[in-house]
């Protein structure tokens, strides 16, 4: 007689399968309907790629994309650099005062509700008279992207044995040389993962970008929101599908980096 697996519980498997179906149903719906020939979103009449052509020809969409990418690239670079510096000090400095407080401060944007932070920077910018829409977005995005860059980098630094840095110093490498030739190459997967996460968070952001939205600084999610307000259209589905594809691509890249890093470490 086969012993029943005591760790298994009845119904777990069907429940989990249902869960994953539910998790992917909405995404699948958007993707499928983006190829719908009909102008009405939910009435299927045939296969067509015309909505993709329409989306790519949409100038407002393209300029929103441009703004989003520009903001995301700059914010990612700044956030990653700031996070990298902070992570090095917080993981490598001995008897550092304010270590706990500093870690909390770096992670603060993750802990507090985004709408409050968005309101806060909105009032700040209006008080100091900052009117450049792009600059406002870059500053706000850099702030909330920093913890997303910080966490993977810190994890990587913590996972790396101190032996390697000591070996480098033992072999006559001055501190910065040791960092450049040993530490940085070894934590690079973490830095990439962090930067990628920060980039996606910036690209995806709606709450802050919407509140700071002002002349000439409409990001992609904010533009999509304005389209949704006008009603669901197949073109919207096409745009969403392109966005989904881009997100999944980046997510997969990060996953591969993580898995490879795990195998090595």
């Amino acid at each position: 007689m086969k012993q029943p697996n005591i760790r298994a519980y009845p119904g777990l498997r069907p429940l989990s399968i249902l869960f994953f179906l539910w998790l992917y149903l909405p995404i699948a719906v958007v993707v499928v309907y983006s190829f719908n020939d009909n102008r009405l979103v939910s009435v299927w009449t045939g296969f067509s790629t015309k909505w993709y052509a329409a989306a790519l020809a949409n100038e407002a969409l393209m300029s929103a994309l441009e703004i989003s990418v520009m903001v995301a690239v700059i914010a990612t670079l700044c956030a990653t650099l700031i996070a990298l510096l902070a992570a090095i000090v917080l993981t490598r400095a001995t008897d550092l005062r304010f270590r706990r407080v500093s870690e909390t401060v770096v992670n603060l944007p993750l802990l507090l509700p985004e709408i409050v932070l968005a309101v806060a920077v909105l009032i700040l910018f209006s008080q100091i008279g900052l009117t450049n829409g792009l600059l406002k977005l870059v500053l706000a995005h850099t702030a909330f992207c920093t913890p997303f860059a910080f966490l993977p980098i810190r994890a990587r630094l913590q996972g790396m044995s101190l032996d390697f840095e000591e070996a480098a110093r033992d072999l006559y490498a001055a501190p910065f040389t040791a960092f450049r030739l040993v530490t940085l190459p070894m934590i690079l997967p973490g830095v990439f993962a962090g930067a990628m996460t920060a980039f996606v968070m910036s690209m995806d952001d709606f709450i802050t970008s919407n509140l700071l939205n002002s002349g000439g600084a409409t990001t992609l999610p904010v533009y999509i929101f304005s389209l949704i307000r006008q009603g669901t259209t197949p073109e919207l589905n096409a745009i969403s599908t392109l966005l989904i594809a881009a997100s999944l691509l980046l997510a997969t890249l990060v996953l591969i980096l993580n898995v490879r890093a795990m195998r090595r470490g």
Binding site: V29, V30, A86, V106, Q127, T146, S240
Partner: protein
């Protein structure tokens, strides 16, 4: 590491957070007790009317009348966020436990599948539910195919909002729950059976207590963003079911009552900080209990 680097390495992070976070939040606190400007904005004059407005309206003869409108919104926010958290928890525990039992290869794949939707833009994910739940949407059509009455009105309901919230934040629940469930030594479950406990005893006395830290962490991670959520009430609630996030948003948009928006933001911030402190105290007690 040189003293100079130890200092200058942290300066950019501190400067960024002080300038874009700490100082601005202090300003919000200030604005919440400022006077509303005649044409939007505010004047720096001490005025508690924004907080008074949460509870009372000023009647025709300047008397204060209790008005539950905003208390209701705060209550609804707590209720919906709590409901979404509870549903996420009930879903996450079996799913996380199921994932933890798979081969390491399948585990990686399933965890990847859990996190993947989180990478998809929030607005796209909420929009997808709009298509499914909307008027003449997928759900209504399926309902009609199976002979249901010609109904409509899935959208703009609490159910739609909570579905959207659970969908948006459930990966934040599954990951910590999985992390704690995965660490449970199978021998502990075997020991529980060896000591004459059945499946449900093992669940109640072994798995749940050991998964508790993950369940707590996951609940916080879902509850906090749900409190401040904006997109779900706006798109799936249709503006009929206001939550604090949307209320704040409208004060800085169309309504242009900055001091009142700031006051609501402060209430939201306090609720979140209380939640986080509650967790810290519980975690502390847990530590003491294990020591």
């Amino acid at each position: 590491m040189s003293k100079a680097f130890r200092f200058w390495g942290l300066v950019p992070a501190w400067a960024l957070m002080i300038l874009t976070l700490i100082v601005p939040i202090l300003i919000v606190a200030g604005v919440s007790v400022a006077e509303r400007g005649a044409y939007g904005g505010f004047n720096w004059a001490f005025d508690l009317s924004s907080y008074r407005q949460i509870l009372y309206t000023v009647g025709w003869t300047d008397e204060l009348e209790f008005d539950p409108k905003y208390v209701l919104i705060i209550g609804r926010t707590l209720l919906f966020a709590g409901g979404a958290t509870l549903i996420s928890l009930l879903l996450a525990l079996p799913v996380a436990y199921y994932i933890s039992q798979q081969s390491s290869r399948l585990k990686t794949i399933l965890l990847y599948l859990v996190t993947l939707p989180f990478w998809v833009s929030m607005i796209v994910r909420v929009y997808a539910w709009l298509i499914i739940l909307g008027n003449d949407g997928l759900l209504e059509r399926i309902y009609r195919i199976f002979g249901g009455a010609d109904i409509s009105g899935f959208l703009f309901t609490p159910g739609a909002m909570i579905t959207g919230m659970v969908y948006s934040y459930i990966p934040l629940m599954i990951l910590p729950v999985y992390a704690s469930v995965e660490k449970i030594d199978p021998a502990l479950i075997e020991a529980s059976h060896d000591l004459y406990g059945g499946r449900w005893t093992a669940l109640k006395r072994v798995i749940l207590p050991l998964a508790a830290p993950g369940l707590t962490a996951g609940s916080i991670l879902v509850f906090v963003p749900c409190l401040g959520t904006v997109l779900e009430p706006m798109l799936l609630g249709g503006g009929k079911q206001l939550m604090m996030g949307t209320l704040i948003q409208t004060q800085f948009g169309g309504a242009r009552n900055w001091p009142f928006g700031a006051a609501i933001a402060m209430v939201l911030l306090i609720l979140v900080v209380l939640t986080l402190l509650l967790n810290a105290r519980r975690a502390g007690r847990q530590m003491e209990a294990t020591l």
